[in-house]
Amino acid sequence: MEEISNLMQGFAVALTWQNLLFMLVGILLGVLIGVLPGLGGANGVAILLPLTFSIPPTSAIIMLSCIYWGALFGGAITSVLFNIPGEPWSVATTFDGFPMSQKGRAGEALTAAFTSSFVGALFAVLLITFLAPLVARFALKFGPPEYFAIQLLTFCSFVGMGREPAAKTIASMMLGFALAAVGLDTVTGTLRMTFGQTHMLQGFDFLVAVIGLFGLGEIFLTMEEGLSFKGTRAKIDFNIVWRTWKTLPRYWITSLRSCVIGCWMGITPGGATPASFMSYGMARRFSKTGNKFGEGEIEGVIAPETAAHAAGTSALLPMLTLGIPGSPTAAVLLGGLLIWGLQPGPLLFVEKKEFVWGLIASMYLGNIVGLLIVLTTVPWWAAILRIPFAIIAPVIVVICAIGAYTVHNNMFDVVMMLVFGVVGYAFKKLKYPLAPLVLALVLGDMAETSFRQSMLLSAGSMTIFYSNGLVGSIVTLALFLLSWPLISRGLAFVRKRPVAPKEA
């Protein structure tokens, strides 16, 4: 088992006092981001990215990924105690988590949520440990057509698996690609869509887009709801934790199912949010007490939390091995790696072995540290949420502005953040998904380069995407997912009954 020895070396890298300190700081910052409205995993990491430029890459990525774990944990706190999902993926947690806390079982709900998050993450990290090297080795043989096929699959799966209308997913994605094309064309050196404006030369940075879309947009939405935090109080002590832990093994089937759903949705970029909903729905269908879901069933907390955390963690697998992030936050982490001069992809596993395994080892440690921290510090986070919105909101906007500015030390980015904030608000309200936009903005140049290289190889013929079994099957799968909304509608029409609960 080469992986085990690599992992042990990774632990040696990750287990220094300095790195443990960064881990701790990362988790604390992450939970803070997770509980505050308007700051989430993606934009939180984006804002904090510049702060890490002065520390070594391994420590920096450990801290950033810990911020991510912290944010995943933090989302559960607001869902259970305040019925406010701090993160989109914890919406499903509110369904049963909040009723539980209303019944005075907040401690149990939180313990269950944190523990299942941990289980989900652990499952996903184990998957990464053993699967990632294989995927990386396999991907070494990839050429431009294969890369483009994988990227196509990434984007088509948004259309096929997203809950939003297909046309809006496609529109949002294409807007991302269009924005990515602005600026200098890296292949020919031609200027595109700059209209003679010098500050358009650099193009649109996705970090600024992430901060605006998710940060400001979310603040505007929160303002609109006229939100006042009315929460229940939580008491967690060792007795409650122990009592809850003793009941958890009973739900191992739900846990396992949620882990699998989460990992699947994380690797194919369905993302944590649909994973948590899907897992909740499945748990309700298969549970003996399914009809009681929504009234405060512990299983209804376990299912979405496990899946969300498994998806959030496994989203790093394609990011590390193929350079294709499975979620907006993974995309931000990818951006960080690029800034430190580390090119994610199969070669990373060969050239920067100690970095990769240090990161994977830190995923184990980070989640253990995270679980301990959140279990012991819940009351503090609940207290932060009692700070009135009139104070929190402007402070978050200031933090977003600083984050946007520090990306390139550029004032124009702050203005763009505001524009993206308005776009984010409108898109959210009209049910345009934001994740495809961000991912297209990140992967735009890569997708374009691999597409153009493929076209060069084939002299402009699309048949190159069916030139061998591998690329052909990936493209076929991608096209199948792309047409899935049509297929499912067709099936529903044939059966003369609606299959999926459609929103629009």
Binding site: A167, A178, T190, R192, P394, V398, T406, A426
Partner: protein
């Protein structure tokens, strides 16, 4: 951005908003296509030209936007009751949006520290009805903390204005 600049005369309906956004996307798509044609969508001796890929993107974007617009028009009657924002919801959003626009302008003019202090103070007193002591505490405390964190510890310069220059930074 048309969303928030509209006068709050009445509730904005979702169907009109759908059309406005779809139209905006069509325009963006058209810009992408036109610009792609400007830089060339065909081949040159060294391969596809710069507009080759964006041209395709532009067309798909335009098509998707037309699809959304068409779907909205198709369901026009059914969408009649749906409201994008009511007048009551618009007010808090604008009360956040307008100060933020002013804030961004101020950052460009007088630096981020003073602008942030003014912005936080305005918002706290206006929206939160706070008295001077807590307002001053937060609105001065946050920029000072930011200053220590960014300029002193992490050595990341942020935009500064006359006050900071006066203090020697």
């Amino acid at each position: 951005m048309a969303t928030n600049n509209k006068a709050p005369a009445g509730p904005v309906t979702t169907r009109w908003m759908e059309l406005v956004v779809a139209l905006a996307l069509v325009i963006i798509g058209a810009i992408v296509i036109v610009d792609s044609h400007r830089v060339g969508i065909g081949w040159s001796e060294d391969g596809p030209r710069s507009g080759y890929f964006p041209n395709i993107i532009g067309w798909i974007l335009t098509a998707a936007a037309f699809w959304i617009a068409g779907e909205t028009l198709f369901k026009w009657k059914a969408l009649a009751g749906k409201v994008f924002v009511t007048r009551d919801e618009m007010k808090p959003v604008l009360s956040m949006f307008v100060p933020t626009v002013v804030y961004v302008a101020l950052v460009a003019l007088i630096g981020i520290y003073v602008a942030s202090a003014v912005y936080i103070a305005t918002f706290m007193m206006w929206q939160g009805k706070y008295k001077w002591p807590p307002t001053l505490g937060v609105s001065i405390g946050v920029p000072v903390a930011v200053f220590l964190l960014f300029e002193v510890w992490f050595l990341i310069p942020l935009p500064k204005g006359p006050l900071e220059h006066l203090l020697g930074y």
